[in-house]
Amino acid sequence: MTELPMTHDVLTERAPAKRSVNFITVLAALILASMALIFGLGLRHQQQTQPTEGMAPLFTLQTLDGQEIALEALRGQVVVINFWASWCGPCRDEAAELEAAWQQYKDKDVIFLGIAYTDTERNAQAYLKEFGITYPNGLDYKTKISAQYRITGVPETFIVDRQGHISEFVMTPLKRVQLSAMIERALAKGTQP
């Protein structure tokens, strides 16, 4: 039921200016489309998990002894990348196991890299000293490396084969036997093209 009385204004008016309706239509469509794009992409980005195949994301690690190690430069070796933190309980469980595995493989074309996530130098050094860890470790400057590997917590370990591809990924604390098996698998792959 339309309201009465109709005023003079309305009877003399025209239909809404086509130009402004078109403009609003385009604008509204643009806004909706860009929101859909951003949030669709954002959701997809959020749902991405750790990389388990393909080229391992490249990074340069500043170690706590002042060295600079580039992942790219380690081509030809198997690399064990372990994300840890001094405040992380399960990391402490696997620390000794990792060091033992390192001692076993250090002369066999394998290198271990430890990356400390949101840790302070003081606490990281204390942790390394406590477990007598001898392989290179560095702080994750600006949490860039952990973002590249999309870790969701610590500890997380990635095995990179000789060609620089991610061979395996484990989210739980490792035992030495398990780690050895993973390294052997990666070493075996090395001979294939």
Partner: protein
């Protein structure tokens, strides 16, 4: 006797001066001043630890946050100002540790964009409003005289409009 006394006093002064120098060197090895919880909290309020989701450092109970607070305490005790402490954390851990990004581009992105968008909204509304006011003077002058004379005509127009609308709906 007086001369000996004078030499003795000078030597004493020299000894004190020397020991002051060496002792102050020791003081620099341990410059920590006591830092109160309140000072640590004042800085921690402005920091966000990535381990806890979206809560400030002063209210987070995890071990990681406890370590960070300890780090804040140590930096403050070394004489850094609160701003320097925050800068230090941003340098080490990135822009995500503060509530508004420190990096100028990101900061602009965060703070200026809503005002830009709002300005667009205001402009759009202003434009619509102006268009309405432009249309009004055209109608107003004709209204008083037109009303009386065209009341009959208006009704006929009205009826014609209704017929047209109804026809359009079929």
């Amino acid at each position: 006797m007086n001369r000996l006394l004078k030499i003795g006093v000078m030597l004493l002064c020299l000894a004190i001066a020397l020991s002051a120098v060496t002792l102050s060197a020791f003081a620099q090895d341990d410059p920590r001043r006591p830092v109160t919880d309140d000072e640590v909290n004042a800085v921690s309020k402005k920091l966000y630890c990535p381990v806890c989701e979206n809560i400030t450092l002063d209210t987070c109970g995890t071990l990681a946050c406890a370590q960070w607070r300890e780090e804040v305490r140590i930096l403050l005790s070394e004489g850094k100002t609160p701003e320097q402490v925050i800068e230090n954390f941003v340098m080490r851990f990135g822009d995500r540790v503060v509530g508004t990004p420190a990096d100028p581009t990101l900061r602009a992105l965060a703070l200026i964009t809503p005002w830009l968008l709002s300005a667009l909204v205001l402009l759009a509304t202003g434009a619509v409003f102006l268009r309405w006011r432009k249309e009004r003077p055209a109608a107003a002058p004709s209204a008083p005289e037109a009303k009386a004379a065209t009341s009959v005509r208006t009704f006929a127009e009205y009826r014609a409009r209704i017929e047209a609308d109804l026809a359009a709906r079929r």
